[in-house]
Subunit: 174 residues, 2 copies
DNA sequence: ATAAACATGTAACATGTTACATGATTAT
DNA sequence: ATAATCATGTAACATGTTACATGTTTAT
């Protein structure tokens, strides 16, 4: 059973508790989005495919929610999720436009510091969100480990951007 | 003139010297691939589009290479490249499957250390390549700055993977 | 001769984003 | 009533990967 990574985001969350596509998106936006983003355009079709494959099952909707469809993980789904977890992870993909700009800054050297500062600003914004999340106390266990990674890595990157921007400003073109 | 990032990889390299799609790929595989990968399937069609838009121009092929088509940057291409460099960079996209596995490791806690070790091994391999590149002495100026980023960031990540794997092994489930 | 490296290109597929359309429920 | 939020879904588009097809040049 070969699934795309987004499918595993869904399976992973359903392993916590039954939920709807809307819930998956809301939780992803507060957590996995920092290292694996998703959108409704992926989640809803994927939930259908997973249901067709028998890895998730629509929960009988109890009174109230009309349009709402909650799904739960099936035994097969849980097995597929565990198999994926045991597999060596695929190589990290990075798409860092700021780095690309610094790399090619030879064509306009005065722009390099701006690219570094843009990256730093973006990281500070991300850091603020991650710290809010951390002080909420909600992430525990493995999710908290990943949150700490996000915070510490971002801090390292911010420091690097500051250091290199300073160096470039002082030394001029490297 | 809105172009995709891959187009700027091409323009950036042509700003160094005229070259073919094959050259762009070979150089990207030794440099930008660590923060922006490309493939022939993108490069050749993109070169055509850039030529159609007048941002690059096929060089008159001198004796020898038959099929070989070298392109050079036009004045318009150079202007578009500089405009892009001056623009604030788009947010960083990360797709880190190893982190996803740690995040969802609650469903199979014994797999978390394996995901961390997989990530560490991949990083060590990347580090070896980056260090070889560094000791070649070829990257200078802004490209060397980005290379140092790759090396130092990877070292930080390796240390983090080791530290957390150790913690998980000692403390058991977090 | 033949293998390796050089070189270009396309088609099928996978993945992901954005914008739009639609309607129900809940709080003010 | 009405605005906000909850909720589902699709279509068009953008981007990117992989596998394949094809031929040339250079070194052994």
């Amino acid at each position: 059973m070969e699934l795309n990574p987004t499918a595993y985001v869904i399976l992973g969350m359903l392993a916590w508790r039954p939920m709807s596509g809307y819930d998956v998106k809301a939780i992803a936006d507060q957590s996995t989005r920092f290292f694996w983003a998703t959108s409704y355009g992926q989640i809803y079709p994927e939930l259908r495919r997973l249901a067709a494959a028998g890895l998730v099952a629509a929960e009988p909707q109890e009174g109230g929610g009309r349009g709402r469809k909650a799904y739960k993980l099936t035994d097969d789904g849980a097995r597929v999720l565990r198999e994926w977890l045991a597999q060596p992870p695929r190589p990290l993909e990075m798409r860092d436009e700021a780095l690309l700009k610094v790399f090619f800054a030879g064509s306009a050297p005065e722009t390099a510091v701006g690219a570094l500062e843009g990256k730093r600003r973006e990281l500070e914004a991300k850091l603020a969100q991650l710290r809010t999340l951390e002080s909420s106390g909600k992430p525990t266990g493995h999710t908290a480990v990943v949150l700490r990674y996000g915070i510490e890595l971002s801090e390292w990157m911010v420091a690097w951007c500051e250091r290199e921007a300073k160096r470039l400003r002082e030394e001029g073109a490297p």
